[in-house]
């Protein structure tokens, strides 16, 4: 039954959205759309988080992330972009 699946997915929703099928269906559809979009956004967000951290880490040692990446590319280590690492 689709109603059963909808209510299963609507667990934890606020107010009537977890109890009433008309409202729950709308909210669940929106939630599934968001999850589709965010599965792609998650990759972007993670990458920007890694970049923040690498930048912070390299600045502790006096360099900046741009310089670090340039150096890594010259040394042909795994830090060079395009070889799978950020």
């Amino acid at each position: 039954m689709n109603k059963k699946e909808v209510f299963k997915l609507a667990k934890g929703f606020r107010g009537r959205a977890k109890n009433c099928i008309r409202i729950a269906r709308e909210r669940v559809e929106k939630a599934l759309q968001y999850s589709y979009r965010d599965r792609r956004n998650k990759k972007r967000d993670m990458r920007s988080l890694w970049i923040e951290r690498i930048n912070a880490g390299t600045r502790l040692h006096g360099a900046m992330r741009n310089e670090n990446l340039r150096v890594c590319k010259e040394l042909n280590t795994e830090g060079a972009p395009g070889s799978g690492y950020v």
């Binding site: 559809e29 759309q33 999850s35 040394l75 280590t77 795994e78 799978g84």
Partner: protein, 274 residues
């Protein structure tokens, strides 16, 4: 692959032509196929000698299998053999692609050459070791880590870790793997950075299971346009357990903690190798 087409054309030609031209054509194909085919031709056309009887008896299931497939739907087999991967072949043979191991056996039937398996394994940056039976491979935790690349994903790994990767072909459960694409090794005293990989570094792993990921619901909707699509997806994964990291000196745990802390501080040299 072209080997499948050779099988069928030769099987068809063997009934018509003498075995000599087909034998010459066979020399271009792979050697293990050569033995089976020459012996089948010898058994069918000429009077079987003692050696040929022995070989043909052993290889009879393979030959019957080949003959049966050549006489049945040829067009489907030809189109399937055009593709490089075993995906088309597996669809041809079995309607079910539920088990990863069924697809494995179908692939091995089609390729059936160890060289190809190891090449494909090298692309995924692993080498298949032996199967494990009653060995004790799991050690205690050692404070050494390695950065590994499998396919396009990189992992920081230590002894006893579990890693979920994309489904690795040509692997079965309880297979030992050696992951040879190691990008970095580290311990308390040493760090080795590879450019881009470290030669002579190996990480041993054991395939724990071939599993499916949790189900992900793919839902697409365009509002006010009466368009709504729902689809479920489960990604195929392989769970690896890392057992050993080689290529770096491991700090000895056997050294007792009783002697003063100054001598160990002096003997351990902090060296960074590139």
């Amino acid at each position: 692959m072209a080997t499948k087409r050779c099988f069928q054309t030769l099987a068809r030609q063997s009934s018509i032509f003498s075995p000599n031209p087909s034998l010459q054509y066979l020399h271009r194909t792979l050697k293990p196929h050569l033995q089976t085919l020459t012996l089948t031709l010898a058994s069918t056309s000429q009077t079987p000698k003692d050696d040929h009887i022995w070989h043909s008896l052993i290889l009879s299931p393979n030959t019957h299998f080949a003959f049966a497939r050549s006489f049945s739907s040829n067009r489907g087999n030809d189109t399937a053999s055009d593709e490089d991967d075993g995906v088309g072949d597996s669809e041809d043979e079995d309607g079910e692609i539920s088990d990863g191991e069924e697809v494995l056996t179908a692939n091995r039937r089609e390729y059936s050459v160890e060289e190809k398996e190891t090449e494909a394994a090298a692309i995924g940056y692993k080498v298949i070791g032996q199967l494990e039976r009653a060995e004790r491979v799991f050690k205690d935790y050692e404070p050494v880590f390695a950065v590994i690349q499998i396919g396009s994903h990189q992992f920081k790994v230590s002894n006893g870790d579990c890693v979920y990767t994309e489904r690795l072909k040509f692997c079965e459960v309880n297979d030992k793997l050696i992951l040879n694409r190691v990008l970095m090794l580290g311990s308390k005293t040493q760090t080795m950075i590879g450019r881009p990989i470290l030669p002579e570094a190996a990480v041993h792993a054991v395939v724990e299971e071939h599993a499916l990921d949790a189900k992900v619901i793919i839902f697409k909707k365009k509002r006010r346009k009466n368009y709504r699509r729902t689809k479920g997806h489960r990604q195929e994964l392989t769970k690896l357990r890392i057992t050993d990291i080689q290529g770096i000196e491991k700090p000895d745990k056997t050294a007792p903690a009783k002697p003063e802390k100054s001598p160990p501080g002096k003997t351990e040299k902090a060296s960074v190798k590139k």
